[in-house]
Protein backbone atom coordinates (compact mmCIF):
# COMPACT_ATOMS: atom_id res chain seq x y z
CA UNK A 1 0.00 0.00 0.00
CA UNK A 2 2.90 2.29 0.75
CA UNK A 3 3.88 1.95 -2.87
CA UNK A 4 0.55 3.37 -3.98
CA UNK A 5 0.82 6.10 -1.39
CA UNK A 6 4.29 7.05 -2.59
CA UNK A 7 3.13 6.93 -6.18
CA UNK A 8 0.22 9.25 -5.56
CA UNK A 9 2.39 11.52 -3.45
CA UNK A 10 4.94 11.71 -6.22
CA UNK A 11 2.34 12.60 -8.82
CA UNK A 12 0.73 15.14 -6.52
CA UNK A 13 4.08 16.79 -5.72
CA UNK A 14 4.96 16.97 -9.38
CA UNK A 15 1.64 18.49 -10.36
CA UNK A 16 1.93 21.00 -7.54
CA UNK A 17 5.41 22.10 -8.52
CA UNK A 18 4.34 22.51 -12.12
CA UNK A 19 1.26 24.46 -11.10
CA UNK A 20 3.40 26.86 -9.05
CA UNK A 21 5.48 27.66 -12.08
CA UNK A 22 2.43 28.08 -14.27
CA UNK A 23 0.87 30.38 -11.71
CA UNK A 24 3.90 32.63 -11.88
CA UNK A 25 4.02 32.87 -15.66
CA UNK A 26 0.26 33.21 -15.75
CA UNK A 27 0.45 36.17 -13.41
CA UNK A 28 3.11 37.72 -15.56
CA UNK A 29 0.98 37.22 -18.64
CA UNK A 30 -1.84 39.09 -16.93
CA UNK A 31 0.15 42.06 -15.71
CA UNK A 32 2.79 42.23 -18.40
CA UNK A 33 1.75 45.75 -19.32
CA UNK A 34 2.78 47.18 -15.98
CA UNK A 35 5.99 45.23 -15.60
CA UNK A 36 7.38 45.09 -19.07
CA UNK A 37 11.13 45.06 -19.06
CA UNK A 38 12.07 45.77 -22.64
CA UNK A 39 12.73 49.18 -24.07
CA UNK A 40 11.29 50.36 -27.33
CA UNK A 41 14.61 51.67 -28.41
CA UNK A 42 14.29 54.08 -31.30
CA UNK A 43 11.01 55.38 -29.90
CA UNK A 44 12.47 56.41 -26.59
CA UNK A 45 15.46 58.11 -28.13
CA UNK A 46 14.40 61.52 -26.90
CA UNK A 47 13.90 60.47 -23.31
CA UNK A 48 16.83 58.08 -23.22
CA UNK A 49 19.53 59.63 -21.10
CA UNK A 50 22.82 57.95 -20.56
CA UNK A 51 24.81 58.56 -17.38
CA UNK A 52 27.46 61.22 -17.69
CA UNK A 53 30.25 58.72 -17.14
CA UNK A 54 29.14 56.49 -19.99
CA UNK A 55 31.99 55.86 -22.37
CA UNK A 56 30.79 56.29 -25.92
CA UNK A 57 33.68 57.83 -27.79
CA UNK A 58 36.55 60.18 -27.16
CA UNK A 59 35.91 63.81 -28.00
CA UNK A 60 38.12 66.85 -27.77
CA UNK A 61 36.34 69.58 -25.85
CA UNK A 62 35.95 72.79 -27.85
CA UNK A 63 34.57 75.97 -26.38
CA UNK A 64 32.53 78.61 -28.22
CA UNK A 65 35.68 80.28 -29.55
CA UNK A 66 36.70 77.04 -31.19
CA UNK A 67 39.46 76.60 -28.71
CA UNK A 68 40.55 73.44 -26.97
CA UNK A 69 42.93 72.56 -24.19
CA UNK A 70 45.07 70.01 -26.01
CA UNK A 71 48.74 70.84 -25.92
CA UNK A 72 49.78 67.92 -28.06
CA UNK A 73 51.77 66.33 -25.26
CA UNK A 74 50.84 62.80 -26.51
CA UNK A 75 50.19 61.52 -23.02
CA UNK A 76 46.97 59.98 -24.25
CA UNK A 77 48.72 58.42 -27.19
CA UNK A 78 51.16 56.73 -24.86
CA UNK A 79 48.46 55.66 -22.47
CA UNK A 80 46.33 54.02 -25.14
CA UNK A 81 46.77 50.25 -25.19
CA UNK A 82 45.53 49.81 -28.74
CA UNK A 83 47.10 52.73 -30.51
CA UNK A 84 43.77 54.28 -31.31
CA UNK A 85 45.08 57.84 -30.83
CA UNK A 86 47.65 59.42 -33.11
CA UNK A 87 48.67 63.01 -32.54
CA UNK A 88 50.47 64.91 -35.22
CA UNK A 89 52.08 68.01 -33.75
CA UNK A 90 53.19 71.25 -35.30
CA UNK A 91 54.98 74.26 -33.90
CA UNK A 92 53.01 77.41 -33.50
CA UNK A 93 54.58 80.80 -33.00
CA UNK A 94 53.44 82.51 -29.83
CA UNK A 95 52.90 86.28 -29.91
CA UNK A 96 56.27 86.71 -28.25
CA UNK A 97 57.81 84.92 -31.18
CA UNK A 98 58.61 81.74 -29.27
CA UNK A 99 57.99 78.37 -30.85
CA UNK A 100 55.30 76.39 -29.13
CA UNK A 101 54.30 72.82 -29.68
CA UNK A 102 50.67 72.44 -30.61
CA UNK A 103 48.38 69.78 -31.98
CA UNK A 104 48.01 69.73 -35.73
CA UNK A 105 45.68 66.78 -36.14
CA UNK A 106 44.26 64.65 -33.39
CA UNK A 107 43.48 61.36 -35.11
CA UNK A 108 41.21 59.01 -33.26
CA UNK A 109 40.55 55.47 -34.45
CA UNK A 110 37.15 54.61 -33.10
CA UNK A 111 37.47 51.20 -34.73
CA UNK A 112 40.38 50.34 -32.47
CA UNK A 113 39.09 51.97 -29.32
CA UNK A 114 38.00 49.74 -26.44
CA UNK A 115 36.61 52.56 -24.27
CA UNK A 116 39.05 51.82 -21.46
CA UNK A 117 39.17 55.45 -20.33
CA UNK A 118 42.96 55.40 -19.90
CA UNK A 119 43.56 58.34 -22.24
CA UNK A 120 41.13 60.51 -20.30
CA UNK A 121 42.90 59.58 -17.09
CA UNK A 122 46.25 60.37 -18.63
CA UNK A 123 45.39 63.78 -20.06
CA UNK A 124 47.10 66.43 -17.93
CA UNK A 125 44.92 69.31 -19.16
CA UNK A 126 41.53 67.54 -19.29
CA UNK A 127 41.30 68.34 -22.97
CA UNK A 128 39.51 65.15 -23.93
CA UNK A 129 36.51 63.43 -22.47
CA UNK A 130 34.16 60.57 -23.15
CA UNK A 131 30.98 61.47 -25.00
CA UNK A 132 27.71 59.69 -24.39
CA UNK A 133 27.04 58.78 -28.01
CA UNK A 134 26.69 55.12 -28.75
CA UNK A 135 25.35 54.73 -32.25
CA UNK A 136 28.61 54.30 -34.05
CA UNK A 137 27.58 52.06 -36.90
CA UNK A 138 28.70 53.25 -40.29
CA UNK A 139 28.84 51.61 -43.68
CA UNK A 140 32.53 52.13 -44.21
CA UNK A 141 35.21 51.31 -41.69
CA UNK A 142 37.23 54.34 -42.73
CA UNK A 143 34.50 56.59 -41.41
CA UNK A 144 35.44 55.45 -37.93
CA UNK A 145 38.80 57.16 -38.20
CA UNK A 146 38.08 60.62 -36.90
CA UNK A 147 39.94 63.87 -36.61
CA UNK A 148 38.97 65.33 -33.27
CA UNK A 149 40.23 68.89 -33.51
CA UNK A 150 37.86 71.00 -35.51
CA UNK A 151 39.24 72.95 -38.47
CA UNK A 152 40.73 76.22 -37.40
CA UNK A 153 40.65 75.38 -33.74
CA UNK A 154 43.53 76.41 -31.58
CA UNK A 155 44.78 75.89 -28.11
CA UNK A 156 43.08 77.92 -25.44
CA UNK A 157 45.05 80.74 -23.84
CA UNK A 158 46.51 79.93 -20.52
CA UNK A 159 46.72 76.17 -20.97
CA UNK A 160 50.21 75.35 -19.95
CA UNK A 161 51.83 72.21 -21.10
CA UNK A 162 52.45 70.14 -18.05
CA UNK A 163 55.01 67.47 -18.03
CA UNK A 164 53.14 64.32 -18.60
CA UNK A 165 55.66 62.18 -16.79
Amino acid sequence: MSFVKNYIGEVWGAVKSLATGMKLTGQYALRHKKEKITQQYPDNKDTLKLPERFRGEVVLIHDENNEHACTGCTACELACPNGSIKIITKFDLTPEGKKKKAVDTFVYHLDLCTMCNLCIEACPTDAIKMAQTFEHSVTDRNKLIKVLNKPGSKIREGVEEKKSQ
Binding site: A29, H32, K36, I37
Partner: protein, 358 residues
Amino acid sequence: MWSLQNIADKVHDWLYLTFNPTLAMLFEFVIIGALAIGLFAMLGLILIYMERKVSAWMQLRLGPNRVGPKGIFQTMADTLKLIVKEGMTPDGADKLLFHIAPFLVMIVAMVVLAPLMFAKGFQIWDINIGVFFITAVSSISVIGVLMAGWASNNKYSLLGAMRSGAQIVSYELSAGLSILAVIVLTGSLKLSDIIASQENGWWIFKGHLPVWIAFVIFIIAVTAETNRAPFDLAEAESELTAGFHTEYSGMKFALFFLAEYVNIFVVCALGATLFLGGWMPLHFGTNTQFNKVMDYIPSVVWFFGKTFFLIFVIMWFRWTFPRLRIDQLLHLEWKYLLPISMINLLLATLIAIMNWHF
Protein backbone atom coordinates in the same frame (compact mmCIF):
# COMPACT_ATOMS: atom_id res chain seq x y z
CA MET B 1 -30.98 32.95 -36.87
CA TRP B 2 -27.77 33.34 -38.72
CA SER B 3 -25.56 30.33 -38.57
CA LEU B 4 -22.94 28.57 -40.59
CA GLN B 5 -25.21 25.59 -40.94
CA ASN B 6 -27.77 27.57 -42.93
CA ILE B 7 -25.16 29.00 -45.23
CA ALA B 8 -23.61 25.60 -45.84
CA ASP B 9 -26.99 24.06 -46.52
CA LYS B 10 -27.99 26.85 -48.86
CA VAL B 11 -24.82 26.59 -50.88
CA HIS B 12 -25.23 22.84 -51.01
CA ASP B 13 -28.80 23.04 -52.22
CA TRP B 14 -28.05 25.74 -54.75
CA LEU B 15 -25.19 23.77 -56.22
CA TYR B 16 -27.22 20.61 -56.60
CA LEU B 17 -30.16 22.49 -58.09
CA THR B 18 -28.11 24.39 -60.64
CA PHE B 19 -25.66 21.78 -61.84
CA ASN B 20 -25.74 18.08 -62.42
CA PRO B 21 -24.67 16.03 -59.37
CA THR B 22 -21.15 15.24 -60.56
CA LEU B 23 -20.35 18.84 -61.33
CA ALA B 24 -21.97 20.00 -58.13
CA MET B 25 -19.88 17.58 -56.14
CA LEU B 26 -16.78 18.78 -57.92
CA PHE B 27 -17.64 22.36 -57.07
CA GLU B 28 -18.21 21.35 -53.51
CA PHE B 29 -14.80 19.75 -53.41
CA VAL B 30 -13.24 22.90 -54.73
CA ILE B 31 -15.04 24.94 -52.10
CA ILE B 32 -13.94 22.59 -49.35
CA GLY B 33 -10.37 22.66 -50.57
CA ALA B 34 -10.38 26.43 -50.77
CA LEU B 35 -11.92 26.74 -47.31
CA ALA B 36 -9.40 24.32 -45.86
CA ILE B 37 -6.52 26.20 -47.42
CA GLY B 38 -7.99 29.43 -46.14
CA LEU B 39 -8.31 27.96 -42.67
CA PHE B 40 -4.73 26.75 -42.87
CA ALA B 41 -3.40 30.12 -43.84
CA MET B 42 -5.46 31.88 -41.20
CA LEU B 43 -4.47 29.41 -38.50
CA GLY B 44 -0.85 29.78 -39.43
CA LEU B 45 -1.00 33.54 -39.20
CA ILE B 46 -3.08 33.68 -36.04
CA LEU B 47 -1.41 30.92 -34.07
CA ILE B 48 2.11 32.08 -34.76
CA TYR B 49 1.15 35.62 -33.84
CA MET B 50 -0.55 34.32 -30.75
CA GLU B 51 2.45 32.25 -29.75
CA ARG B 52 4.70 35.23 -30.04
CA LYS B 53 2.37 37.44 -28.07
CA VAL B 54 1.76 34.87 -25.35
CA SER B 55 5.47 34.24 -24.98
CA ALA B 56 6.08 37.96 -24.88
CA TRP B 57 3.54 38.46 -22.12
CA MET B 58 4.96 35.71 -20.01
CA GLN B 59 8.43 37.06 -20.51
CA LEU B 60 7.35 40.61 -19.75
CA ARG B 61 8.02 41.79 -23.24
CA LEU B 62 5.79 43.46 -25.76
CA GLY B 63 6.18 41.01 -28.58
CA PRO B 64 5.81 41.99 -32.22
CA ASN B 65 4.57 45.55 -32.44
CA ARG B 66 6.11 47.14 -35.48
CA VAL B 67 4.45 45.66 -38.57
CA GLY B 68 0.88 46.87 -38.60
CA PRO B 69 -1.19 47.82 -35.57
CA LYS B 70 0.04 45.79 -32.57
CA GLY B 71 2.24 43.91 -34.97
CA ILE B 72 -0.54 41.79 -36.42
CA PHE B 73 1.11 41.67 -39.83
CA GLN B 74 4.35 40.37 -38.40
CA THR B 75 3.59 36.77 -39.33
CA MET B 76 2.76 37.84 -42.87
CA ALA B 77 6.08 39.61 -43.09
CA ASP B 78 7.76 36.46 -41.83
CA THR B 79 5.95 34.36 -44.40
CA LEU B 80 7.08 36.74 -47.08
CA LYS B 81 10.61 36.39 -45.84
CA LEU B 82 10.37 32.61 -45.92
CA ILE B 83 9.08 32.69 -49.48
CA VAL B 84 12.00 34.80 -50.57
CA LYS B 85 14.45 32.46 -48.87
CA GLU B 86 16.11 29.83 -50.95
CA GLY B 87 15.02 26.28 -50.21
CA MET B 88 18.20 24.31 -49.96
CA THR B 89 18.73 20.60 -50.28
CA PRO B 90 21.85 19.12 -48.75
CA ASP B 91 24.12 17.29 -51.16
CA GLY B 92 24.00 13.93 -49.47
CA ALA B 93 20.27 13.96 -48.88
CA ASP B 94 17.83 11.34 -50.07
CA LYS B 95 16.24 13.80 -52.47
CA LEU B 96 12.90 12.06 -52.98
CA LEU B 97 12.11 11.56 -49.32
CA PHE B 98 13.48 14.96 -48.49
CA HIS B 99 11.01 16.63 -50.82
CA ILE B 100 8.05 14.40 -50.01
CA ALA B 101 8.27 14.78 -46.23
CA PRO B 102 6.78 18.29 -45.93
CA PHE B 103 3.97 17.32 -48.30
CA LEU B 104 3.15 14.27 -46.23
CA VAL B 105 3.04 16.25 -43.04
CA MET B 106 0.80 18.83 -44.67
CA ILE B 107 -1.57 16.21 -46.10
CA VAL B 108 -1.98 14.63 -42.69
CA ALA B 109 -2.62 17.97 -41.08
CA MET B 110 -5.22 18.76 -43.73
CA VAL B 111 -7.01 15.41 -43.76
CA VAL B 112 -7.63 15.33 -40.02
CA LEU B 113 -9.72 18.45 -40.45
CA ALA B 114 -12.43 16.37 -42.17
CA PRO B 115 -14.37 15.07 -39.15
CA LEU B 116 -13.97 18.20 -37.02
CA MET B 117 -17.19 20.02 -36.26
CA PHE B 118 -16.44 23.69 -36.48
CA ALA B 119 -19.94 24.87 -35.67
CA LYS B 120 -23.41 23.55 -35.41
CA GLY B 121 -23.94 21.42 -38.50
CA PHE B 122 -20.78 22.66 -40.09
CA GLN B 123 -18.62 19.68 -40.75
CA ILE B 124 -16.92 18.27 -43.78
CA TRP B 125 -17.55 14.61 -43.16
CA ASP B 126 -19.54 13.34 -40.21
CA ILE B 127 -17.86 9.96 -40.22
CA ASN B 128 -19.19 7.51 -37.65
CA ILE B 129 -15.71 6.72 -36.34
CA GLY B 130 -14.65 10.38 -36.21
CA VAL B 131 -12.52 10.26 -33.07
CA PHE B 132 -10.85 7.08 -34.18
CA PHE B 133 -10.19 8.62 -37.57
CA ILE B 134 -8.42 11.59 -36.04
CA THR B 135 -6.21 9.51 -33.75
CA ALA B 136 -5.37 7.14 -36.57
CA VAL B 137 -4.60 9.70 -39.23
CA SER B 138 -2.76 12.17 -37.04
CA SER B 139 -0.21 9.51 -36.13
CA ILE B 140 0.79 9.23 -39.78
CA SER B 141 2.57 12.55 -39.41
CA VAL B 142 5.34 10.78 -37.49
CA ILE B 143 6.24 9.08 -40.75
CA GLY B 144 6.74 12.50 -42.29
CA VAL B 145 8.98 13.50 -39.42
CA LEU B 146 10.97 10.28 -39.65
CA MET B 147 11.30 10.75 -43.40
CA ALA B 148 12.52 14.29 -42.98
CA GLY B 149 15.03 13.33 -40.34
CA TRP B 150 16.34 10.34 -42.19
CA ALA B 151 16.53 11.95 -45.60
CA SER B 152 18.46 15.00 -44.41
CA ASN B 153 21.68 13.04 -44.03
CA ASN B 154 22.33 14.97 -40.88
CA LYS B 155 23.03 13.44 -37.51
CA TYR B 156 21.04 15.94 -35.55
CA SER B 157 18.06 15.32 -37.79
CA LEU B 158 18.42 11.59 -37.43
CA LEU B 159 18.48 11.76 -33.66
CA GLY B 160 15.58 14.17 -33.63
CA ALA B 161 13.50 11.99 -35.90
CA MET B 162 14.15 8.88 -33.84
CA ARG B 163 13.21 10.68 -30.68
CA SER B 164 10.09 11.98 -32.32
CA GLY B 165 9.14 8.46 -33.36
CA ALA B 166 9.58 7.03 -29.87
CA GLN B 167 7.73 9.92 -28.36
CA ILE B 168 4.72 9.97 -30.63
CA VAL B 169 4.13 6.23 -30.49
CA SER B 170 4.34 6.24 -26.71
CA TYR B 171 2.02 9.10 -26.04
CA GLU B 172 -0.56 7.84 -28.45
CA LEU B 173 -1.49 5.17 -25.93
CA SER B 174 -2.41 7.47 -23.11
CA ALA B 175 -4.03 9.93 -25.49
CA GLY B 176 -6.13 7.06 -26.84
CA LEU B 177 -7.02 5.78 -23.38
CA SER B 178 -8.07 9.20 -22.16
CA ILE B 179 -10.22 9.65 -25.23
CA LEU B 180 -11.76 6.27 -24.49
CA ALA B 181 -12.80 7.50 -21.06
CA VAL B 182 -15.16 9.91 -22.80
CA ILE B 183 -16.19 7.43 -25.45
CA VAL B 184 -17.27 5.04 -22.74
CA LEU B 185 -19.57 7.71 -21.38
CA THR B 186 -21.02 8.79 -24.73
CA GLY B 187 -21.13 5.42 -26.42
CA SER B 188 -20.34 6.80 -29.83
CA LEU B 189 -17.30 7.64 -31.89
CA LYS B 190 -19.20 10.11 -34.00
CA LEU B 191 -18.23 13.67 -33.22
CA SER B 192 -21.73 15.00 -33.70
CA ASP B 193 -23.06 12.45 -31.20
CA ILE B 194 -20.39 13.30 -28.69
CA ILE B 195 -21.25 16.98 -28.90
CA ALA B 196 -24.97 16.23 -28.73
CA SER B 197 -24.42 14.24 -25.55
CA GLN B 198 -23.09 17.37 -23.89
CA GLU B 199 -26.17 19.46 -24.42
CA ASN B 200 -27.02 19.54 -20.74
CA GLY B 201 -23.45 20.18 -19.66
CA TRP B 202 -19.95 19.47 -20.84
CA TRP B 203 -18.26 16.25 -19.89
CA ILE B 204 -15.71 18.12 -17.86
CA PHE B 205 -18.58 19.13 -15.54
CA LYS B 206 -20.64 16.00 -15.75
CA GLY B 207 -18.03 13.32 -15.65
CA HIS B 208 -16.55 13.64 -12.17
CA LEU B 209 -12.98 12.63 -11.42
CA PRO B 210 -12.32 10.23 -14.31
CA VAL B 211 -13.02 12.87 -16.90
CA TRP B 212 -10.86 15.43 -15.16
CA ILE B 213 -7.97 13.00 -14.99
CA ALA B 214 -8.59 12.02 -18.59
CA PHE B 215 -8.60 15.69 -19.56
CA VAL B 216 -5.27 16.38 -17.88
CA ILE B 217 -3.71 13.28 -19.37
CA PHE B 218 -5.13 14.14 -22.76
CA ILE B 219 -3.60 17.62 -22.66
CA ILE B 220 -0.22 16.24 -21.60
CA ALA B 221 -0.30 13.49 -24.21
CA VAL B 222 -1.27 15.75 -27.09
CA THR B 223 1.38 18.26 -26.09
CA ALA B 224 3.85 15.44 -26.46
CA GLU B 225 2.28 14.19 -29.66
CA THR B 226 2.57 17.55 -31.33
CA ASN B 227 6.21 17.84 -30.25
CA ARG B 228 5.58 20.91 -28.18
CA ALA B 229 7.69 22.00 -25.24
CA PRO B 230 8.27 20.63 -22.65
CA PHE B 231 8.23 17.59 -24.92
CA ASP B 232 9.96 19.19 -27.89
CA LEU B 233 12.75 16.67 -27.91
CA ALA B 234 12.55 16.15 -31.63
CA GLU B 235 13.76 19.67 -32.13
CA ALA B 236 15.41 20.32 -28.77
CA GLU B 237 17.26 23.42 -29.80
CA SER B 238 19.84 23.34 -27.05
CA GLU B 239 20.79 19.77 -27.86
CA LEU B 240 20.06 19.11 -31.52
CA THR B 241 19.99 22.68 -32.83
CA ALA B 242 16.72 22.20 -34.71
CA GLY B 243 16.21 18.44 -34.66
CA PHE B 244 14.52 16.86 -37.60
CA HIS B 245 14.15 20.01 -39.66
CA THR B 246 17.70 21.25 -39.26
CA GLU B 247 18.32 20.98 -42.98
CA TYR B 248 15.03 22.42 -44.10
CA SER B 249 14.91 26.01 -45.13
CA GLY B 250 12.64 28.44 -46.86
CA MET B 251 9.16 27.30 -47.73
CA LYS B 252 9.68 23.65 -46.83
CA PHE B 253 10.58 24.66 -43.33
CA ALA B 254 7.54 26.92 -43.29
CA LEU B 255 5.34 23.97 -44.18
CA PHE B 256 6.66 21.95 -41.26
CA PHE B 257 6.12 24.91 -39.05
CA LEU B 258 2.59 25.43 -40.33
CA ALA B 259 1.75 21.76 -40.00
CA GLU B 260 2.94 21.82 -36.41
CA TYR B 261 0.59 24.64 -35.57
CA VAL B 262 -2.33 23.12 -37.45
CA ASN B 263 -1.74 19.89 -35.57
CA ILE B 264 -1.95 21.78 -32.32
CA PHE B 265 -5.19 23.28 -33.49
CA VAL B 266 -6.58 19.89 -34.44
CA VAL B 267 -5.74 18.20 -31.17
CA CYS B 268 -7.05 21.13 -29.20
CA ALA B 269 -10.23 21.10 -31.26
CA LEU B 270 -10.56 17.42 -30.46
CA GLY B 271 -10.00 18.12 -26.81
CA ALA B 272 -12.58 20.88 -26.89
CA THR B 273 -15.04 18.56 -28.60
CA LEU B 274 -14.55 15.68 -26.21
CA PHE B 275 -14.29 17.45 -22.92
CA LEU B 276 -15.60 20.97 -23.39
CA GLY B 277 -18.58 20.31 -25.59
CA GLY B 278 -17.33 21.42 -28.99
CA TRP B 279 -19.62 24.10 -30.36
CA MET B 280 -22.14 23.45 -27.60
CA PRO B 281 -22.77 26.59 -25.55
CA LEU B 282 -22.34 26.51 -21.81
CA HIS B 283 -25.49 24.84 -20.57
CA PHE B 284 -26.40 24.10 -17.02
CA GLY B 285 -28.89 21.26 -16.79
CA THR B 286 -32.39 22.67 -16.68
CA ASN B 287 -31.58 26.31 -16.08
CA THR B 288 -33.36 27.44 -19.24
CA GLN B 289 -32.93 31.15 -18.58
CA PHE B 290 -29.18 30.86 -18.48
CA ASN B 291 -29.06 28.40 -21.35
CA LYS B 292 -31.02 30.76 -23.57
CA VAL B 293 -28.60 33.61 -22.98
CA MET B 294 -25.72 31.33 -23.84
CA ASP B 295 -27.43 30.19 -27.00
CA TYR B 296 -27.25 33.70 -28.41
CA ILE B 297 -23.53 33.38 -28.80
CA PRO B 298 -22.91 31.74 -32.18
CA SER B 299 -21.74 28.16 -32.03
CA VAL B 300 -18.63 28.88 -34.08
CA VAL B 301 -17.51 31.35 -31.43
CA TRP B 302 -17.94 28.72 -28.76
CA PHE B 303 -15.93 26.21 -30.71
CA PHE B 304 -13.03 28.48 -31.52
CA GLY B 305 -13.09 30.03 -28.08
CA LYS B 306 -12.66 26.69 -26.39
CA THR B 307 -10.06 25.53 -28.87
CA PHE B 308 -8.02 28.66 -28.49
CA PHE B 309 -8.25 28.39 -24.73
CA LEU B 310 -6.69 24.93 -24.94
CA ILE B 311 -4.07 26.22 -27.35
CA PHE B 312 -3.27 28.94 -24.86
CA VAL B 313 -2.82 26.34 -22.14
CA ILE B 314 -0.41 24.41 -24.34
CA MET B 315 1.51 27.59 -25.08
CA TRP B 316 1.51 28.34 -21.38
CA PHE B 317 3.25 25.01 -20.81
CA ARG B 318 5.85 25.83 -23.38
CA TRP B 319 6.84 29.13 -21.89
CA THR B 320 6.98 27.86 -18.34
CA PHE B 321 8.61 24.46 -18.21
CA PRO B 322 12.06 23.12 -18.87
CA ARG B 323 12.40 20.32 -21.35
CA LEU B 324 12.34 16.68 -20.30
CA ARG B 325 15.05 14.27 -21.20
CA ILE B 326 14.22 11.51 -23.66
CA ASP B 327 14.28 8.67 -21.13
CA GLN B 328 12.33 10.70 -18.59
CA LEU B 329 9.81 11.41 -21.28
CA LEU B 330 9.31 7.74 -21.93
CA HIS B 331 9.23 6.96 -18.23
CA LEU B 332 6.57 9.58 -17.69
CA GLU B 333 4.45 7.81 -20.26
CA TRP B 334 5.09 4.22 -19.27
CA LYS B 335 5.33 4.60 -15.54
CA TYR B 336 2.79 7.29 -14.85
CA LEU B 337 0.44 8.24 -17.63
CA LEU B 338 -0.29 4.77 -19.00
CA PRO B 339 -1.11 3.03 -15.70
CA ILE B 340 -3.08 6.02 -14.48
CA SER B 341 -5.10 6.29 -17.67
CA MET B 342 -5.80 2.54 -17.63
CA ILE B 343 -7.17 2.71 -14.11
CA ASN B 344 -8.95 5.89 -15.03
CA LEU B 345 -10.66 4.12 -17.90
CA LEU B 346 -11.91 1.49 -15.50
CA LEU B 347 -13.30 4.22 -13.27
CA ALA B 348 -14.97 5.85 -16.23
CA THR B 349 -16.50 2.50 -17.17
CA LEU B 350 -17.84 2.12 -13.68
CA ILE B 351 -19.41 5.55 -13.83
CA ALA B 352 -20.87 4.87 -17.25
CA ILE B 353 -22.41 1.60 -16.19
CA MET B 354 -23.76 2.88 -12.92
CA ASN B 355 -25.00 6.01 -14.65
CA TRP B 356 -23.41 8.15 -11.98
CA HIS B 357 -22.74 11.00 -14.35
CA PHE B 358 -25.29 13.72 -14.76
